[in-house]
């Protein structure tokens, strides 16, 4: 595991009169030591303090799934998670899926099936889809529909998202 000492950036760093937390986050296999306003969510820590802007903020209320990341192999909505709570947990974001420019099979399938339009929900959809397969819930059409329903796509790419998942399931 890499040990990168990423200091919190000046933007968003709170002055000392707001309670701070020291937190070390393990994101995509790299440890990041941060001093944060205790209020910073895992999503905002990733986006604003670590520069990982793949996970998106669509509602900030845990209702849209655009901020979906993996924690210890399970998908969660990072907007309803305090960064401080996730110290020591293994956090995986969309940025880790492709290796050396080679797309993950789910990413490639999303591209082939045009499983997005504006693309804003896409990192969350893809993280959910990858977890869906690991959960064993990608084997029936009914399961895919039900267990992908926590990710809203306002552009309405749902049929194409299912087609992408089906393809990965069949081939994988």
């Amino acid at each position: 595991m890499k040990h990168a000492e990423t200091e919190a950036r000046s933007a968003g760093q709170a002055p000392p009169d707001v309670p701070q937390v020291d937190v070390t986050l393990n994101v995509n296999g790299t440890l990041h030591r941060l001093r944060l306003d205790a209020r910073v969510t895992l999503l905002d820590a990733l986006r604003d303090h670590l520069g990982l802007t793949g996970a998106q903020k669509g509602c900030d209320q845990g209702a849209c799934g655009a901020c979906t990341v993996m924690v210890d192999g399970k998908r969660v909505v990072s907007c309803l998670a305090l960064a401080a709570q996730y110290e020591g947990r293994e956090i995986t974001t969309v940025e880790s899926l492709s290796v050396d420019g080679e797309l993950h099979p789910m990413q490639a399938a999303f591209a082939r099936h045009d499983a997005f339009q504006c693309g804003y929900c896409t990192p969350g959809q893809i993280m959910s889809a990858v977890c869906l397969i690991a959960e064993g819930r990608a084997n029936s059409e009914e399961d895919i529909r039900e267990f992908m329903s926590g990710n809203i796509c306002r552009c309405g790419a749902y049929p194409n998202i299912r087609a992408a998942i089906r393809e990965v399931t069949t081939e994988g």
Binding site: S10, A11, G12, Q13, A14, P15, D17, V18, D37, R39, V40, D44, D48, G51, G54, A55, Q56, K57, G58, C59, D60, Q61, A63, C64, A66, T93, V94, E95, L97, L103, Q107, A108, F110, A111, R112, D114, F116, Q117, C118, G119, Y120, C121, T122, P123, I126, R145, M148, S149, G150, I152, C153, R154, C155, G156, A157, Y158, P159, N160, I161, R162
Partner: protein, 736 residues
Amino acid sequence: MTTLEAGTIVGAGLDRVDAPLKVTGAAQYPNDFSFPGMAHAALVGSTIAAGRMRGIDVTDALAAPGVLTVITHLTAPKLERGPMTLLGGSPPAPLQDDRVLHYGQHIAIVVAESSEQARHAARLVRVEYEATEAVLDVDDPRAEIVENPWGLDTERGDVNAGFAQSDVVVEGTYTTPDNTNNPLGLMTTIASWHGDALTVHDSTQWPHNVRTSLATIFKVPESGIRVLAPFVGGGFGAGLRVWSHVILTVLAAREVKRPVKLVLTRPEMFTSVGHRPNSVQQIKIGSTRDGDLVAIEHHGISSVAMEDDDYEPVSVGSAVSYACPNVLTVDRQARLNIPCPGSMRAPAEGQGSFALESAIDEVAYAVGMDPLEIRLRNYAEENPVLGLPWSSKALRECYLEGAERFGWSRRTPEPGSMRDGRWLVGYGLAGVSYPFYQVPCQARASVRRDGSAYVRSAATDIGTGTYTVMTQLAAELLGLDVTQVRFDLGDSDMPYSPQAGGSGLTGALANAVHAACRRLVQEFLDVVRDDTESPLRAAALDDVAVTDGRIHRITDPEQGESYVDILARHGLEELSADGRSTPPRSEELGMAIAGAFGAKFVEVRIDPDLGLLRVARVVSAIDGGRILNEKTATSQIVGGTVGGISQAMFEETATDQGTGRIANATFGDYLMPVNADVPDMDTLFVGGPDRATAVGTKGVGEIGLVGLAAAIGNAVFHATGRRIRSLPITIDQLML
């Protein structure tokens, strides 16, 4: 006009060129940007709908940790209202007085070191209101009524005489609720001033409008303003105007002399960036007993904000949809204390088609005719308002091929006659159009020494596929492989582009790219006009074609040379050319310029005990003119259809009486379809390139949505015998 010829690149279902960025999370939306020293803003919204602020106390907010400034109407400078635009007036400038005109009106902006601090401090701003009684309903007698707001009311023949002659007259009041655009991307503005110059990242569908408006509002030269929107997290109309939050962010950045970022919250997205206004529509249709339409009368009233405007002529589509001798369409608006409405995917037609296409279905049942048959019987062969032939219209093919694909002939006419176990089964259809819309547009194309092309325009790709289809089109026109062409957009420093909206951008931009690419080939010919070494010497544009990066004579393909060779021999790094498109005019062409047409076929399942409604199948047959990319165009139709399902079954922005507060301004409470609500769909494109423009597209952004609600409502009637005239169609309306 040189018409685009059928090629091999245009039309093909190429994967989106921006797909790798989007699937890896690398595409940068406005809220993905950060700058050194950037401060964060949060808004304060009014909690009453009408009245004035007696006082606003910012002491605690200013004292809160990290707060840099709080701007209210007491401290804001005078700001000009933005200019008139293609879409009407600009929204009122914020913080100009103590009046409150709607709930959620921005009454202060707080700037702090972090977003957490800004949001917290915004809650500490205390306002003392003097509330007056708000006008919130279109039928409130106190509401000011704007008659014929756009001068689009139509009348032909004599509807009263028509009804008198009719064997059957159906009449009904149809209502549609407020809907909120809710693109998934929280709209974001980041503003940085450098002296009089200004850079703005914004979730806009129209960078040039942001530039022009900010120049007017802040009285600075337009040339110093740069607006960037390379990726936008959807829009559906919410990014068409320069809303108050954009202005406030720019103001805040000027005040604190630092870059300032504002990300709207989801609840703020319900009150800050427009919405589809509700409508009440009276529609009356007379027919002979043979199903010949004799008269259509359609009155629509929509809500609009107190000191703003919005384009929603809901009834006007009824004037052009059918060959009917007597038609009257009338639109009105009621001024209310509501956040300003704005266009939302398929504005006007989205509401009007629900009334018209439901009412046509009612006529079909009243005269005992198949709903498909009555539509074919009253088919408008020419534009009934202009009396001109259409520039293209394949709606008949949409009906026939769609019906075939759907299996419409399996439908048994009697309501309630089709079942699948416990479920009642219903078939419904609607036939619709979305009017042609195009405004001037510009593009610039360059070919470089390495043989690659760079084409750009200040357009946006809000998920519509603009990056991809323009890459394909330019590759086709320049005789290059798509991998040699880069199309760029989303930067107001590029040539002028109109908004991504009204299904108008693809046509406007494609024709500008077409002109630029043609002009660029001409530039190459100009370079070699007197070049004795060139086999293209003295060739005219019409004499040549381009293939594999090489211009050659049509009559003798051996006679030609590559872009690279021409540039090299003449010591040029690149050649560039500008192109512009202007909208065609019906009067000049002698034909009625057509928008897209479509026929929608829907199968629903209803559990009559529990009132459950499920859309089982949708077939959309679409005449969209030339399709530039089958894959992305299909996605537009599928996405529009999901929007239509959503309008039909889920969406309703609920407003509290008295305060005008939006009562369901979250994603947990404002329902939109999830994956499990949406069936697989069948989309087919019929017809061919439209005759009115060189490229021949008609735009497919809205047509997918139009008429879906009527088709679902008609299917519900077929399943249950119950006519639902109020959207959304919900469980409580369907428990039989």
